[in-house]
């Protein structure tokens, strides 16, 4: 869905996304990082379970909710990636205990 412009600073760091090691651009948010590796739907809807895409990228729509380092319902568009971060796409509501 998204590609990087050719002349963009792209020093990378390693994170895991749904258990897979991935290199992403240092300085990206979690949401941007997921887009950059080709993941378009970052959560499924609470009620119907249909896939959703982050909608606003500025912290108001909550369609970017993911699990970051074991904590669910984090707004991926507000959190910068950091080395070793564990990112998981989220299915429906936040699960008890994470």
């Amino acid at each position: 869905m998204f590609r990087r412009l050719p002349d963009v600073d792209d020093a990378t760091i390693e994170v895991t996304i749904d258990g897979r090691a991935e290199r992403v651009r240092a300085g990206d948010t979690v949401t941007a990082a997921l887009f950059s590796v080709g993941i378009e739907s970052h959560r499924t809807a609470d009620v119907s379970g249909t896939p959703r895409t982050p909608y606003c990228m500025m912290g108001v729509c909550f369609e970017c909710l993911v699990v970051i380092d074991g904590v669910g319902n984090r707004q991926g568009c507000l959190v910068p990636v950091s080395p070793g971060m564990r990112i998981e796409t989220q299915r429906g509501k936040r699960e008890v205990g994470r």
């Binding site: 300085g27 941007a32 887009f35 507000l78």
Partner: protein, 472 residues
């Protein structure tokens, strides 16, 4: 977070043009000033990532974007404390601010609070707007500015408003191809807007705006007078279907759709503390009731920038300066001389940049069918409540947004009504034949952003708090 004091003279929420200008004025007067911002870097949305963008080519965003650099420099030199990645989740009438940074919560008190929470994009509840591959124009611009990410494949922009044309222009500057722009600017409002045209002719925006529009129109297929729009696809957007006033239904195969129909004040924090809001009949949104300096009815709490009513970046900066000056006048009047441009100068500038705003408001006022959906179109994205459910529930006697929550859970999901509130107010108002002002809005309560119970539990406690729960 460890550097955070318990009390400040002034606390500002939001690091866009209004917040930066307000905080800088206060700090320059020697007031102990803190600026909380939810994003990781300064600039708000209009100057998003201005200190951090990885895009090296400086011709993509345009001169207006880079003009924010001076504002950021002045703020950084002012001595105000800047706290990025800070989520403000509560504000009381006593000016206690609940804020979290990296999972740690604190309560901070300030003599003066200036809310500069800016704007968000008006919801665009078209059929299919929840499909993957559909985002807002603002979201597209944020990905471009802060990450240099651009859509691949067939791309369509749909809707109306200056930001849509700006993104199209920036995409062209970046060498992208836009397959089509579906322009929903209504003919009727164009005629109404003529009334305000003489003022707009004097606006500093006119020449810039026209140049930008012409460039985009020359290079992109623009389909005007769109009166119907829906997005189709099974698990992902596959096509956008539209009809113009002139024609029959048309279908465009597409990979990505960016929607936009203007911006509206981000009111959640201001409403949560109890600032009175009224319905703006021209901008079709809620705006806080304020005096000329931005003070609300609650002592010591002001609102500045687009959060006080949409007026654009330059006006936001001016209103931020004025709110800052007002705080200085209250807390340290003797320091007014070393703050920056005085109120008379700033007001003259504000008047100049506000010229033509009425024209833009009238010209780009979105059409009712794009604000008040029908049928199975989802209104509340979080709880997946449709337009038909809301209209049917009004018929049962449910006559306001808060009652609607109890019936349908709309507005009770994670976004706390930010993406459905205006639609729900307008749908109920229309179905009942009453004004939005009389229909009202969701009662917004803290926490206005989600925080964990653990964060709350870890709040530093004073002696009396501990005593109040101690067993004797």
């Amino acid at each position: 977070m460890r550097d955070l004091r318990d009390t400040y003279d002034v606390a500002v929420v939001g690091a866009g043009p209004a917040g930066l200008a307000a905080a800088a004025n206060c700090a320059r007067a020697g007031l102990m000033t803190v600026l909380f911002d939810e994003q990781a870097s300064l600039g708000g949305q209009i100057y998003r990532a201005i200190t951090a963008t990885p895009v090296k080519r400086d011709t993509i965003f345009g001169a207006d974007y880079w003009s924010g650099a001076k504002l950021v420099r002045d703020f950084l030199a002012s001595g105000a404390q800047y706290v990025p990645s800070a989520t403000v989740w509560s504000l009381t009438r006593e000016r206690e601010i609940g804020v979290s940074v990296a999972g740690l919560a604190r309560i901070v008190r300030a003599e003066q609070v200036i809310l500069a929470t800016g704007a968000l994009e008006r919801p665009f509840p078209a059929p299919g707007w929840t499909l993957p591959g559909v985002m807002t124009v603002g979201a597209a611009q944020i990905l471009l500015k802060s990450s240099g990410l651009v859509p691949r494949g067939r791309t369509v922009l749909a809707g109306c408003g200056p930001l849509l044309w700006l993104l199209a222009w920036q995409y062209l500057n970046a060498g992208l191809c836009i397959d089509a722009i579906l322009d929903t600017t209504p003919r009727l409002s164009r005629a109404m807007a003529i009334r305000h045209a003489p003022d707009f002719v004097l606006s500093p925006y006119l020449a810039k705006g026209l140049r930008l529009l012409l460039t985009v129109r020359r290079r992109v297929r623009v389909i005007g007078n769109v009166v119907e729009l829906r997005i189709e696809g099974r698990t992902h957007v596959e096509s956008v279907v539209y009809r113009t006033t002139a024609g029959t239904e048309q279908r465009l195969p597409v990979d990505t759709v960016f929607l936009h129909q203007g911006i509206v004040p981000n009111v959640n924090l201001a409403m949560a503390v109890g600032i009175e809001h009224h319905w703006d009949e021209m901008q079709l949104c809620w705006t806080p009731v304020l005096d000329a300096a931005g003070n609300s009815g609650i002592p010591g709490i002001a609102v500045a920038g687009d959060g006080a009513g949409i007026a654009g970046a330059e006006a936001a900066q001016a209103r931020g300066e004025i709110a800052g000056l007002a705080a200085v006048k209250t807390l340290r009047p003797g320091a007014l001389g070393r703050v920056g441009p005085d109120e008379t100068t700033v007001r003259a500038r504000l008047k100049r940049v506000m010229r033509g705003r009425a024209f833009l408001d009238a010209y780009y006022q979105p059409m009712s069918q794009f604000r008040r959906p029908i049928g199975n179109t989802i209104v509340c994205r979080c709880e997946e409540v449709t337009a038909r459910q809301i209209i049917d529930t009004v018929a049962l006697g449910c006559d306001g947004p808060n009652q609607m929550k109890a019936f349908l859970r709309c507005g009770m999901g994670a976004c706390q009504g930010r993406l459905c509130g205006l639609t729900v107010t307008e749908l109920i108002a229309h179905a009942r034949g009453v004004a939005p002002q009389a229909t009202g809005y969701y009662r917004i309560r803290p926490p206005v952003k989600p925080i964990t119970v653990a964060e709350l539990a870890q709040l530093p406690k004073n002696e009396s708090a501990l005593r109040s729960v101690a067993r004797s």
